[in-house]
Amino acid sequence: MKLGQWLINKITRTLEPELQDAVVGDVAELKMSDRRAICELVGLVVRRQAQPWKTWRPWLALVGIVGPVGVLLSRISAGVVTSFSIQAIAYWKYGVPYSSGLTEAQEIESLVCFSLAVICWSWVGGFALGTLSGDAFYVNGTLFCLVWFCLCGPLQMLIYSARLVLNALHLMPHTALPHNLAQFIFFAALP
């Protein structure tokens, strides 16, 4: 199959199922060149994706949930995971809890409470995002997952690991690992 036809098929599949046949039929009927057909289809997809953004709800989801809630939840959950990891490593290596001034019971209470809170906030944030986004859900959902991916998901882990290796090889000054957005951007921008 030619690249142009393959692209046309892929773009058509992003449309609603009831629209796909009509669009394929129109393209065949008008005997357009592949390039023209691709341009027209991309225009149609963009116009259809822009349609739901004419109301205020997807914007509220983007500005109110994807941005602040996504970033803050990423930071809070990264903090909880760090505390949990410190305790787990101390137990595993030395058989004692890491003492930060709290009793063992308080440490457990604080970890359980923070974990439950993050789960609860995340579910509510996701539910509100799904409710508010409507047909703009694909854009907002992707951005929300991207926030997680960059701030506390695999990308953040990769940067942490890279810095650990570079520190171990004395290729970087021994500074605290990046934990907030400003540090994250600063270290990510280092050559």
Partner: protein, 103 residues
């Protein structure tokens, strides 16, 4: 791994439930709001424990500083706002349903 369990999985579950058209009843929304409010207050309170413990341990000689409870509460209020929105939307819907004529 743990970040996925704490953040990504619950978010995706919430998004999927909203997309599948699941509706929170008024009672469910109130319970959810109550749970979120309780956890927010608990996290704000517990967040200050470490500071107090270190101050106590040093017999008041060392105050490690750190954010006040108001400063700790602000980001938690921001992450909790979606529940306020859900509650507000449901109460508006509830009122509209009540004011509909029966016949």
């Amino acid at each position: 791994m743990l970040e996925t369990l704490l953040f990504l999985l619950p978010s995706i579950t919430g998004i999927r439930q909203a997309r599948s058209g699941r509706r929170l009843g008024m009672r469910g929304a109130i319970l959810l709001a109550f749970a979120v409010a309780t956890l927010t207050v608990l996290v704000t309170w517990i967040g200050g424990w470490r500071q107090i413990a270190l101050e106590k341990w040093s017999e008041g000689k060392w105050n490690p500083g750190g954010p006040s409870w108001q400063e700790r509460l602000v980001p938690l209020v921001v992450v909790s706002w979606p529940v306020v929105y859900l509650l507000a939307m449901l109460s508006v819907q509830h009122r509209a349903d009540k004011s509909k004529p029966l016949i």
